[in-house]
């Protein structure tokens, strides 16, 4: 009887304590309808940041934007929050546009404590990032970036990708740049924009960055141009060290088919390889030789090849980068 009474007492205590830990009974919980989910954010201001946030609407054509200023990014977001009647939630941000600011510091702060997703897309603006978010439908902008990346015109970059590049020895990263009417690829460093790639160089970068999902590649033959429909493409980079000579090889493997029925894959294989190699050479020439940056994981491949060699020469990284020999191997699978 006593045991039964004790069980009852325990059950009552447990039942009474449950409401204390159930979040639904927490008076400070915020209902979903009282939250405004930020879809995109633009950050400008070299000293004091100003932000423009774009809120998810009911469909892709509906969006509202609010702006804010502050001494820090989060104070600016809080300022933007006061312009409307809901709590801003940044955990589902899909697009970040960064202006002329220290990208490394900004991305580190945004990523701290997992406030935003590391796979959030990042773009750069050399003019005004907030205007991009305010003027353009950020949903459409994001979709455009994804499609252009899939088709090899640019390389879509996430917060994690850009931060990983910026933490390398040369503190530079490749990032899509949104200009007034177009989206290109840019190389940014600690001190801002280093250069904008041409269409050819950006395509070469896309091949080397493994962002291509499917595209139609025109192949110049002797008498005509045929189309190679690329269905998938993979790339990897390896380095070998022989004495003081570093050779970095880019390996690209792709599968696809010829759109023109009167040609076979074997017939266009060599011209296709040449076309892809020339695109890659343009990207390497511009990034490595002209801008002297590594956005192609060359540094990592050298570390893997010979860690001790890398550690001996890492203080002279810029010089090492300029003297690397590059090779290209393109395999076209059936």
């Amino acid at each position: 009887m006593l045991k039964y009474k004790m069980h009852k007492v325990k059950a009552i205590c447990l039942t009474l304590s449950l409401p204390l830990i159930l979040s639904g009974c927490n008076h400070s919980a915020i209902e979903v309808r009282d939250r405004a989910f930020v879809q995109a954010i633009g950050i400008d201001g070299e000293k004091n940041p100003s932000v423009v946030v774009s809120i998810f609407g009911n469909d892709s054509d509906e969006y509202t934007v609010y702006s804010g200023e502050g001494k820090t990014i989060f104070e600016a977001i809080a300022d933007a929050e006061t312009k409307q009647d809901k709590n801003l939630f940044i955990g589902h941000i899909e697009l970040i546009a960064l202006g002329k600011r220290n990208l490394l510091d900004d991305l580190e702060i945004l990523l701290s404590n997992s406030r935003i997703s590391p796979s959030c897309t990042v773009v750069y603006s050399d003019v005004n990032a907030g205007e991009i978010i305010a003027d353009k439908n950020s949903w459409n902008l994001l979709e455009t970036i994804k499609i252009k990346s899939k088709n090899g015109y640019i390389s879509e970059k996430s917060v994690a990708n850009v931060l990983d590049d910026l933490l390398g020895s040369d503190k530079a990263a490749a990032i899509p740049i949104v200009e007034i009417d177009q989206i290109n690829m840019a190389i940014v460093g600690e001190n801002g924009l280093k250069g904008i790639l041409t269409e050819t160089e950006a395509q070469g970068l896309a091949w080397l960055s493994e962002t291509i999902k499917n595209l139609t590649l025109p192949i110049e033959l002797e008498n005509e141009t045929v189309n190679l429909r690329v269905e998938s493409a993979k790339s990897r980079v390896t380095s070998t060290i022989d004495g003081n000579k570093v050779t970095t090889t880019f390996h690209i493997t792709l599968s696809g088919d010829v759109l023109e029925k009167n040609y076979t894959l074997e017939q266009i294989s060599e011209p296709a390889q040449q076309t892809i190699i020339s695109l890659c050479q343009a990207a390497v020439q511009r990034t490595v030789h002209s801008l002297n940056v590594d956005v192609l994981n060359i540094e990592k491949s050298i570390k893997v090849a010979d860690y001790n060699y890398y550690m001996e020469h890492k203080d002279n990284w810029n010089h090492m980068l300029k003297n690397i020999n590059f090779k290209y191997e393109v395999d076209l699978l059936k």
């Binding site: 919980a29 589902h92 390398g168 570390k303």
Partner: protein
């Protein structure tokens, strides 16, 4: 106390180890993976005397433990301290990963009530719960793998310039393996197949830690140097769905691991208190209150107990069982003579 099976022993040991791993701030690196491997091999050797002691004849905690009741008090102190450190880890993690915990002490109090209740139900019930939580752990690891699969870059699997030496990681891992001390008591309440349970635990622990470390290094690359709690950050980096974040799985897992970890400490401490003071009836409540008091003291003073902690683990899981083993051998020889 009812005995548990070797599968349940495996589950309990693994979950308390994974709690420590999840709460660790140590960065993942190739050197860390090698260090964990060396530490696991060392632990496999260290557990041999305990297994021999429990296989031939159960350990009589009152008689076999060196220094008798004083020795048992050391073990009680260890488990109470472990529980206190677990509360400190809870506060550390919840503060960093932005869990909605407004009042730390109240949160700890709620967890303490749950753990107290669970400890009153006994080791058998806890062990059954541990097997269920093991399923959640497997699910969390599967989600992590599915999300990480396409994001792993083999080029990231290279030596880390900011890493310590392999031996430091090996020593750190060994000195954080409090479950070796718990093993000595738990083996007494395990029915049979001790070796199976223990070596399965060591193998599974090694596989899981190396697996998560491999994913972490492969996915994060240079970003590992920015990360505070690698396990949770890797969860954020390896989202399997584009439309929904899967962080909640790791948060729920963390809560379950925390409860099981602290409950095990309460049970082990109360079992040993009973050996010292058989007539004392408030073992569990005393243990949890002491844990909370010590945790508040550690948290407010910012004490670094790593040296004391490591020393206690070596003393109670290596030296004490070795002494017990040698004493039993000598006694056996004397009796034969």
């Amino acid at each position: 106390m009812k005995k548990i099976g070797y599968g349940q022993l495996f589950a309990v040991l693994l979950l308390i180890k994974i709690f420590g791993f999840v709460c660790s701030k140590s960065i993942y690196s190739i050197e860390q993976m090698a260090g964990v491997f060396i530490s696991t091999v060392a632990q496999a050797i260290v557990v041999i005397p305990m297994l021999i002691l429990c296989n031939s004849n159960r350990v009589n905690l009152k008689k076999d433990v060196p220094l008798g009741k004083v020795g048992l008090a050391f073990y009680v102190f260890f488990f109470v301290l472990w529980g206190a450190i677990s509360f400190v880890k809870l506060w550390d993690v919840t503060g960093s990963i932005s869990l909605p915990v407004k009042n730390k002490v109240f949160a700890a109090f709620l967890i303490a009530i749950v753990c107290l209740y669970a400890s009153r139900l006994g080791l058998k019930v806890l062990a059954r719960s541990a097997v269920i939580v093991l399923g959640l752990l497997a699910l969390a690891l599967a989600v992590m793998f599915i999300g990480a699969y396409s994001k792993i870059e083999i080029l990231n699997l290279v030596k880390n310039e900011n890493s310590e030496s392999i031996w430091i990681y090996a020593l750190n891992d060994f000195c954080e393996s409090g479950e070796l001390v718990a093993l000595l008591v738990l083996l007494n309440f395990t029915q049979s197949n001790h070796k199976k349970g223990v070596f399965s635990y060591l193998t599974a622990k090694l596989v899981i830690i190396e697996f998560v470390s491999f994913i972490g290094i492969g996915v994060t690359g240079h970003l590992m140097q920015l990360i505070e709690f690698p396990f949770f950050e890797i969860g954020a980096y390896t989202q399997p769905f584009s439309t929904q974040r899967a962080d909640s799985i790791y948060t729920i897992l963390f809560a379950f691991l925390c409860v099981i970890n602290i409950t095990v400490q309460i049970i082990l401490a109360s079992v040993l208190i009973e050996e010292i003071f058989p007539k004392y009836r408030f073992n569990e409540i005393t243990s949890i209150i002491l844990m909370l008091i010590i945790s508040v003291a550690i948290n407010s003073t910012g004490m670094d107990l790593s040296l004391i902690w490591g020393g206690l683990i070596v003393l109670l899981s290596v030296i004490a069982p070795l002494i017990m083993y040698i004493r039993r051998k000598i006694n056996a020889q004397v009796q034969n003579a």
